[in-house]
Amino acid sequence: MIIKQISIFMENTSGRLADVTALLARAGINLRAISIADTTDFGILRMVADQPDEAVKLLRESGFTARETDVIGVEVPDHPGELARIMALFRDEGVSIEYLYASLEHKVDKAVIVIKVDDISAGLAMLEKHGFATIPSF
């Protein structure tokens, strides 16, 4: 299943993360996964929230450049070697990963990894074929 990630353009200035998180908190939006990619001048904040459409609308109204991106959330058994097995699968099937990060989801014996791939339908089909569960939403 495809899930919606929210991507936000941010300048590297102090307090900017505080601004974004306070804005989402006031609207009662819950974050399920979060990651930041940083460069010298700017960063890209990526996150998965429980109400993605509302969150993007709110962010845009508040003057942020934000957009929704299709990503995969895959459940990974919580013991050594499992992530390596999935990564090998991506390599062998030739599906490129743009980036990935772990979610904040707590599940017994399982972790959820958020993955952005170049070809999302190929990625989903491959995971399904090899018996990995992708989550419909958080």
Partner: protein
């Protein structure tokens, strides 16, 4: 398209030159006899009113600079009795003592005439509704357009500058057909209209007259597509009259100079030598009919060239090319001359980039000039993939380098972090102490 004054605007060149010479002789006589400042300058140059026997003799006259206008503030250049004045305007004075324009009744009459010509070039006729978004007050834009539209008999909405939401509401509700404001403000309106859910394709707006700041051909394309109109460049300056010195007709190939009132020359700004038609240099203007504040050979600091080829609209007046820059906002970065308009052209070429940018020039630890260009990242430019954003930055950098020959640091910034102006845009911040 209507031609407001066919007799004057389409006159045979020889007849116009005869008129220009008569007016030039009177103008020199007027300042020589009435303005001590000019009498002294002309005496020093060894020129008297009798020295002017052909239009070429204009080159014998001394230049007038902005510095001299400030030095003679407020009434030092007045060429009439103060009781004859009916209106005063000044420049904004953001860069020093304001420059004064003093108008007699005849000056206002002439201003109305040249502005009627200007608005007609954009298709304005009786029955049109003109939304005048230039500031009313000491700034010449507001009242200049007002007088021209009055002369034509169009319906004027004197809304002045600012209050964007009301501009849009009025434009929709009153069926504005012609918009006058700064070019950057027109794009600001387009952006705001999107947020307000107003679609320009559904409005009767057909044209706009945009001036008071330099803009590019690419910006015209963006304004015309976003506002669904014809965008006309207009030129003028407080020192000479305000708007109404020159304007574009429907051919949009240079601005027709109202040369029966304002005599243009192009000079080499370094040497003062008069250049031939088609050669780029500083625009010099002599007012031929001003009574209140006449000026001889005023150095505008604007860079352009004269175009004397016939225009297919039928007007015979000389045209100036759209401004290429100013001698005083020309940036010299590591010895390379460049103009903000060149940077704007590059930014506009990159799809989706709106012209919201700022140039910051500074000297780093090495004491070498460093240029930073801040570009606002709108949604169209934004990607969640870092690599794509770095590529965007590299593309802007590389295109600027090939256009200007200088390597600039490109800083991608959040939307609305660069101050939006409802008047003139501050594009350059020069932190160097030169």
């Amino acid at each position: 398209m209507p031609i407001w004054n066919r007799e004057a605007e389409c006159a045979a060149p020889a007849a116009r030159q005869k008129l220009q010479l008569e007016r030039l002789q009177k103008a020199v006589e007027r300042v020589y006899s009435r303005v001590p400042f000019y009498r002294q300058k002309l005496d020093q140059a060894g020129v008297t009113p009798d020295s002017i026997s052909s239009l070429k003799d204009v080159a014998k006259l001394p230049f007038t600079t902005k510095y001299e206008l400030r030095e003679t503030y407020p009434y030092g250049l007045l060429a009439c009795d103060r009781s004859e004045l009916v209106e005063i305007h000044t420049s904004s004075g953001t860069t020093g003592t304001p420059v004064v324009g003093a108008y007699t009744e005849a000056d206002i009459d002439m201003w109305s005439e040249v502005m009627a010509r200007t608005l007609s070039m954009a298709g304005c006729e009786k029955g049109d509704t003109v939304q005048n978004g230039y500031g009313y007050g000491l700034f010449t834009g507001g009242l200049g357009v007002h007088y021209g539209a009055r002369r034509i008999g169009a319906n004027i909405i004197p809304i002045s500058a600012g209050n964007t939401r009301r501009q849009l509401m009025i434009m929709r509700d009153f069926g504005t057909t012609l918009l006058t404001c700064t070019p950057s403000y027109s794009l600001f309106l387009a952006e705001a209209a999107l947020e307000e859910g107003i679609d320009f394709r559904e409005l009767p707006l057909k044209a706009g007259c945009f001036g008071a700041e330099p803009w590019s051909e690419n910006m015209r394309i963006e304004i015309e597509s976003k506002l669904n109109i014809n965008a006309h460049d207009i030129y003028g300056l407080t020192e000479l009259i305000g708007p109404g010195v020159a304007a574009e007709c429907e051919c949009k190939d240079g601005l027709h100079f109202n040369e029966d009132y304002f005599y243009p020359e192009i000079i080499n700004p370094e040497t003062g030598e008069v250049l031939a038609d088609g050669e780029k240099g500083e625009l010099i203007i002599t007012s031929l009919e001003r009574e209140g504040s006449p000026l001889l050979r005023y150095r505008t600091r604007d860079i352009t060239f004269l175009m004397r080829e016939p225009c297919s609209c039928g007007r015979t007046s000389v045209r100036i090319h759209r401004l290429l820059g100013r001698t005083d906002d020309m940036m010299i970065i590591r010895g390379v001359n460049c103009f903000p308009s060149q940077i704007e052209n590059v930014l506009m070429r990159i799809e989706g980039t709106q012209p919201h940018y700022q140039i910051v020039i500074d000297r780093g630890a090495t004491h070498l000039d460093e240029i930073e260009i801040q570009v606002e990242v709108e949604e169209a430019l934004f990607s969640d993939v870092t690599r794509a954003m770095e590529q965007l930055r590299k593309r802007i950098h590389d295109e600027l380098k090939s256009e200007l020959g200088i390597s600039a640091h490109i800083k991608l910034v959040e939307p609305r972090t660069i101050a939006r102006s409802e008047g003139k845009a501050q594009r350059i911040i020069d932190k160097r102490s030169l």
